[in-house]
């Protein structure tokens, strides 16, 4: 009889445990699927994704440059106090309408175009577009000719004019090569958002949204579909990955 009672209690406990285990198993199974979807170290960047940004210029304030400081500290972009030659990956532009006098502000960075002029003109192919849409410079084969700097309609590229030290291990940069915003590719490959977006969300006004433009369920894709946004210099037909709202 003791055995029966025990077994009854045991069976209830067992069911409970079984139920809990099943739930745990399912949830960890989902987690595993999520992890599987997340890019592992050995996985190749895929053209099934296209990373992009949506920037709401209404929320962007003239006196805020959280995105710029976020980027500078992430990549150690501290300059040499020589603004004409110091590198700048993202900058704030202040716009004043010539007719109405309305003032607005927005961040300008590499637009990660689908048809990048910088990639077209690079003689060695150092300037290239990764399969998931990020436009990068392969500094191993960059010869420093600066043709891409001339070609970029957004003035997104910078040439490094002096010897650099104290680089971050995930952001190599050196004298004599050209660089620009990498969309924090090292963070994206670890499923984090770019430093500028994170800074804007934590210290700024939350004007920047990052995500996979090809994923119809992502926040950015839904927002782009729902509200109007535009590219800067859309007339060039570059199909930029960075779009602006309320411009």
């Amino acid at each position: 009889m003791q055995v029966t009672i025990k077994s009854k209690v045991n069976s209830k406990r067992r069911k409970l445990l079984a139920g809990a285990a099943a739930a745990a198993g399912l949830s960890s199974g989902f987690q595993l699927i999520e992890l599987a979807l997340a890019k592992s170290d050995d996985e190749v960047a895929s053209s099934l994704k296209r990373w992009g940004l949506l920037i709401d210029t209404e929320k962007c304030a003239s006196d805020c440059d959280a995105c710029v400081s976020g980027c500078n500290s992430e990549h150690n972009l501290d300059g040499f106090d020589r603004p004409e030659t110091d590198a700048q990956w993202i900058r704030k532009i202040e716009l004043t309408d010539q007719q109405t006098g309305h003032v607005s502000s927005l961040p300008m960075l590499c637009q990660h175009c689908e048809n990048p002029p910088c990639v077209d003109v690079c003689p060695t192919g150092a300037s290239f577009k990764r399969d998931d849409g990020i436009v990068l410079v392969d500094k191993h084969i960059c010869i420093g000719c600066r043709y891409c700097v001339m070609a970029c309609p957004y003035k997104a590229r910078s040439f490094i004019h002096e010897s650099l030290h104290d680089q971050k291990s995930y952001s190599p940069r050196g004298k004599g090569t050209v660089e620009s915003c990498t969309l924090c590719v090292h963070r994206i490959d670890k499923d984090q958002a770019p430093a500028c977006v994170e800074a804007c969300n934590t210290q700024g006004n939350g004007a920047m949204l990052f995500g996979d433009l090809k994923d119809e369920g992502s926040d950015i894709a839904k927002k782009i579909k729902a509200s109007s946004s535009r590219q800067v210099r859309a007339d060039l037909g570059l199909n930029t990955g960075v779009r602006y709202q309320n411009l």
Binding site: D41, R130, H140, Q167, K168, S169, D189
Partner: protein, 131 residues
């Protein structure tokens, strides 16, 4: 990371191949990663600060100086691990760990270990590192 004899002769080929995989394909596996080389082979000075791995008398120059082959990697790549990284923590999390063997092997015979006091301890009783 490959056996020493292979590394000595072919490390450049591994790096040349890996750099394209990382930059163009986003493959960031650690086996042939330059950052991982730096993380293991970098040394610290007496104050515990990292010494640039390509400085004279450090790991790279031990061979490159003799072979008279100029290093180009560190024009762009970081010569020390990022702030907050501690090789010792990595390899000796609880004071004695089998991966200390790996740490041993990354030192060249004439190189000192980081931290004089540790050296003294090891000199006194090396077996504390290998339980």
């Amino acid at each position: 990371m490959e056996p020493t004899e292979i590394m000595r002769r072919d490390h450049m080929n591994f790096l040349l191949h890996q750099r394209d995989r990382t930059v163009h394909d986003g493959i960031r596996s650690k086996q042939h990663s330059l950052n991982e080389c730096v993380n293991c082979h970098v040394q610290t000075n007496q104050s515990g600060e990292f010494i640039p791995v390509d400085a004279p008398e450090q790991f790279c120059q031990a061979c490159h100086g003799f072979a008279s082959v100029k290093l180009d990697c560190f024009e762009c790549h970081a010569t020390t691990p990022d702030e907050g990284y501690s090789a010792l923590d990595q390899l000796l999390p609880d004071g004695h760990n089998i991966s200390a063997m790996a740490f041993f092997k990354t030192r060249l015979p004439h190189q000192a270990w980081p931290g004089e006091s540790l050296s003294a301890e090891i000199a006194a009783s090396p077996s504390t590192l290998f339980p």
